[in-house]
Symmetry: C2
Subunit: 243 residues, 2 copies
DNA sequence: GATTCTATGATTGTCGGACAATCCGGCAAC
DNA sequence: GTTGCCGGATTGTCCGACAATCATAGAATC
């Protein structure tokens, strides 16, 4: 007789509590927005002390599975916000000695097809959002900080127009990582602003027309321009990114 | 006189402690492998209670910034392991109602250029690893579970051959998400195994020859085949992924 | 009756302390 | 040199406590 044993649940109690709650969230037994019982109540249910529960909650919180909604003490279930997990990815990449070139190469690969998909799938709302973002870039060009923010925003709009969450999420950490260096470029390279503006305009137009090839081409050019920008700004692309 | 005020640090103490330690890690003031002081000592240094420190540690631990190395009680600084953050991303995508098609589309975009880059940048070791992985797939074909594992492994080898951490990390969650459904395909579709094997062989060959176009073409075909596989296995690609 | 104030209770954030289990390092015994 | 044992350090968990915050219900006021 061969008996199959389940893997023994190792590890400290706070981990088991976190796993138990986390599993309920991932299987949607607990739905988004639903509020968890109070800590004391959880402690009672799990048969552990409140401190133990709290450690578990901290873990789930930092995974973005729980959040505290404004004006409520009780934790509620949440889907991890994009920016939140993107930040985690960015940090991980930083520590893995990622270079500017690595990130740029990833953009090279990712963005043109995203633009193409966006040209295919964009709705009228996507278009409006994109045009608002490009307009904001034109208006806020003076302040480098704003210019960078709006450049990222345009990327986000385009990725959003694909209606594919995976693509949006894949892009996000790259933007986060590049923003600082992008700012340096915009600061140092005079023609950067106008070239970015031109690219935005053509991308916008291509998406409006639903012209996939055009969208892809302009995005390729846009990303390639970044490489020129790094050169002109005197940034070594082999340099490790840092905070 | 205009005085600039720093933003007031809001939030509970455990967050501030976590931020303080996390910042040291991200700026590399604490280097990888370095061991943190004991909890009591940290509590003394920060002037808070040990429970508070522990909550902060749980958070950093779940971000992958700290880990407990085998046989050591003290926490040590770590760079978040790829699989760890990929799991976080997978969970997030799950909760964001990602469909099989979304993930597949991302693969469609990502993998062919990865294969191309790999053909360009692969070293002899990469090649050896890849060939070992394809061989393992051939050997373990019988067990569907193993077959899936090795299929992913081949993808990982190829991404590894690009020597671009960003690409490897971008790919990882996609593999994690697709593995279950891939297994269904291999289970149900007879010719799946051999077609995957063929693709592996050609990819391997292309990488050996440094033939970028060939690598890309075969990867395109490989990924496109997945779509066929879903169809043949009767899996609706518009279906939400779930655990 | 509607509104404002207040008391009350629930809940979190933080603290103090405690103790068993485990692990490290050193030291003695073999 | 290896083995076994002991003391100290460290974690995991518990108990209990209390201030601050917030919601709610109920009382007081207009």
């Amino acid at each position: 007789m061969s008996v199959e044993f389940d893997q023994i649940a190792f590890g400290p109690a706070y981990r088991k509590v976190a796993d138990a709650i986390g599993e309920r969230i991932l299987t949607r037994a607990l739905r988004e927005g639903e509020r968890l019982p109070a800590e004391t109540e959880l402690a009672r249910q799990f048969g552990v002390h409140r401190s133990t529960v709290r450690e578990a909650l901290r873990e789930l919180q930092s995974r973005g599975l729980l959040e505290r909604r404004a004006g409520s003490k009780l934790m509620s279930v949440s889907r991890p916000p994009r920016a939140h997990i993107a930040a985690g990815i960015s940090h991980a990449l930083l520590l893995h000695d990622v270079t500017v070139r690595d990130v740029w190469q990833a953009l090279t690969i990712l963005e043109p097809p995203i633009a193409r998909a966006a040209a295919r799938a964009r709705t009228a709302e996507d278009l409006a959002a994109l045009e608002a973002a490009t307009a904001a870039f034109g208006a806020g060009m003076a302040d480098p900080k704003e210019a960078v923010r709006h450049t990222s925003a345009v990327f986000r709009c385009i990725a959003g127009a694909t209606h594919n969450t995976v693509l949006g999420l894949a892009q996000e950490p790259l933007l986060q990582l590049l923003e600082p260096s992008l700012r340096v470029i915009i600061d140092r390279v005079q023609q950067a602003r106008s070239r970015i503006g031109t690219a935005h305009a053509h991308l916008s137009e291509a998406l409006r027309a639903g012209n996939e090839v055009q969208a892809m081409r302009w995005m390729e050019r846009h990303i390639a321009d970044f490489s020129r920008g790094y050169e002109l700004a005197g940034i070594d692309m082999a340099l490790r990114l840092s905070l």
